[in-house]
Amino acid sequence: MDITFTPQQQAYREQVRSWLAENLPSNWTQGGLWPAQSEEAEQELLIDWERRLYAAGYSGIAWPKDYGGQGRDHVDDLIVNEELGAASAPESINTIGRELVAPIILSVGTEEQKRHYVPRILRMDDTWCQGFSEPNAGSDLASIKTRARRSGDKWIINGQKIWTSYAHFANHCILLARTNMDVSPYRGMSLFIVKMETPGIEVRPIRHMNGLRHFNEVFFTDVEIDDGMLIGPLDTGWKVAVEVLGFERATTRLYRQARFTEELRALVDYALDADDVGDALRAEIGGIVAELSIMRYHNLRFISRLSSGARIGEEASFLKLLWSNLHQKIARLALELLGPEFDALSPIAERFRRIYFTSRGETIYAGSSQIQRNILAERVLGLPRGERRVGQ
């Protein structure tokens, strides 16, 4: 057991840190652009930022060189993530591409798909959205109704998706659709690549509680796509998504821990300025510091396991429970500390307004806390299977 980093790794950390110090956009404040500008201007800045990050060699760290990645190891990936988080660098607006599409394509895609799509994600030529959830299929994803029917060498897609983040600017969608009505619901689904410009797609915005245009409804009416847009073997979409997601749960957004720590630091700085931190509040903050440290230890453990070739399974669900809860705690602390200043027109208030409202979604998406607990209880601890989908 060794928690220290090699001199080379430390040097790499320094290198990333100083690059970030020199290159971070100066008008970016985690509360968005400050002074505030339009959502489009923000979007442009974010796309440009991700391009520069990649040009400097700081994205796709552990992805293979053949597909545009840096071909470095998981520890370096952790280091870059920690520095991005500690610098409060802007978060990706292509998370679906980075965290879902590229890993799925790298694991089950064709060689052609890998060579085409993965580098385009890194270069920000393509931004992606994820068409999984439907009005009647949220936690119970296997009850999706959107269908893909074969017609010659094409697929014809009909149905409706909802909560589709980024669909208003993404040019590609990874779509989960039913391809087989004759097998169990879990087995008859497939994953497709759909270009958002394809005729028959209509995107209707839904405004997020945080005030931003974040997600959308997406309607598919006789949308025709080529056979080559199927990802992985037919009818295995669920299995692929679940496997990749399990692995990803442990490795994506490793920067979160450092980022949350910086958020807490910003709050403490603010409170110290205002000089109103009593002992009860100090102890509460100290408790959060302990949990943030524990979160880091988990990151180190998962990275170590990955580095030695271990398989990460459903146990990684506990990480989702941990970080989503912890972030909501920090957001609530912000309410308490900002108090009557919560509506101030200041970067810090704007930042924590965003964090507070956004973090409410974190125990809902990517498998709600209840779904994560079901997974842990049934698949990891081996307790009896409970809820079954009633009435098909």
């Binding site: 928690i3 903050i285 170590s304």
Partner: protein, 357 residues
């Protein structure tokens, strides 16, 4: 960086676990000695294994799981000191024959040529020496156990008397040893015991949830209980990394006496103390609840573990004090700079700043 157990540590765990299993009666000293456990932290020059806290944590965790830790933590920690100071005792040390007892709580202060203080000791007659920290944790004193009057305390654990000892001895008579970080190391091993004990409570709970039926099905089929189990699983994983990281950080600081590593080791102990004792106790309390009435009986095995967890946990200081110490470190490293309140666990090198660690 490789923060996971090595193959050797896995093997150590299985042999220690097997030894404790075979010897549920608590007479495992010979078997433990054969595995070299008493020499785990003894330098190779003294005939020991020269291993670190990471390995000692494995041993104490298994001892905690088996409910057989007794005074193993302090005995392992002091073994090298005794073997070095009294070479003729070396063999006895390695055989487990030189037991020491550290108080659950209390330290001594040095003033006017005397060492004074009141300490609470469990198993007061289980060791030849009582080892107590002095002042700021840089020194310890070894006191012959036979020499003191013992005043009784309430029995928290069925098998162990706790006593109060009023120490007042001339410094000249005492065997003082410089042993920096003894309190932190002992805390790490006691938290490892808590981890093992909490794990056992959870294992009993999950077993019971599968076995006990009500309303025609296993109680574990109810989502209300499943979700409690899932949350407890998360707590246990938190406990595990908190203890193992503190041990690994302490080992790293021992290997290389570098400022950042020492600060990281100090902080890791604060994190551990802020989280582990309370959470281990919550896991034990949950276990009682999940068992219904049977969990509340004197005879059911949970009782022993719950009492041990409560006893050890309450002696490790209040969680809020440890949280305050963490707050101080954190705010001092922030841009504005906080106002410090004194913290009980002092850095090894006086270094005290918050790093990414």
């Amino acid at each position: 960086m490789n923060f996971q157990q090595s193959l050797e540590q896995d093997m150590l765990r299985s042999s220690v676990a097997a030894t404790f299993d075979r010897d549920a009666a608590g007479r495992g000293d010979t078997a433990l000695a054969e595995l070299g456990i008493f020499g785990l932290l003894v330098a190779e020059a003294n005939g020991g294994l020269g291993l670190g806290l990471a390995e000692a944590v494995v041993v104490l965790q298994e001892a905690g799981r088996a409910g057989l830790a007794g005074t193993l933590a302090e005995t392992l920690l002091l073994a090298d000191t005794i073997a070095t100071a009294v070479p003729e005792q070396c063999e006895a040390v390695l055989a487990g024959g030189a037991r020491v007892v550290a108080p659950l709580s209390g330290t001594l202060t040095r003033a006017n040529g005397r060492l004074r203080g009141k300490v609470t000791i469990q198993h007061p007659r289980a060791g030849d020496w009582i080892v107590v920290g002095v002042d700021d944790d840089a020194e310890i004193v070894l006191l012959p156990a036979s020499r003191f009057e013992l005043a009784g305390r309430a029995r928290i654990e069925a098998e162990a008397d706790a006593c109060e000892v009023n120490v007042d001895v001339p410094v000249a008579d005492a065997r003082l040893v410089r042993l920096q970080g003894f309190a932190d190391r002992l805390a790490i091993l006691r938290c490892a015991e808590l981890l093992g004990a909490a794990e056992h409570c959870f294992t009993l709970s999950v077993g019971y949830m599968n076995e006990r039926t009500q309303f025609g099905q296993a109680i574990g089929a109810n989502q209300a209980l499943k979700h409690i189990a899932a949350d407890t699983y998360l707590s246990l994983e938190n406990l595990r990394v908190a203890v193992e990281y503190a041990a690994a950080a302490s080992d790293a600081a021992d290997r290389e006496d570098e400022e950042a590593l020492c600060a990281a080791a100090v902080k890791a102990v604060q994190v551990m103390l802020a989280y582990v004792p309370n959470t281990a106790r919550e896991i034990a309390e949950t276990a009682i609840h999940l068992h219904g009435g049977i969990g509340l009986t004197w005879e059911y095995p949970l009782n022993v573990y719950v009492r041990r967890i409560v006893r050890l946990g309450t002696a490790l200081g209040t969680a809020s004090a440890h949280r305050l110490a963490l707050y101080d470190g954190f705010s001092r490293s922030s841009k504005v700079g906080g106002k410090a309140t004194p913290s009980s666990h002092l850095p090894r090198n006086g270094a005290h700043h918050d790093s990414a660690l």
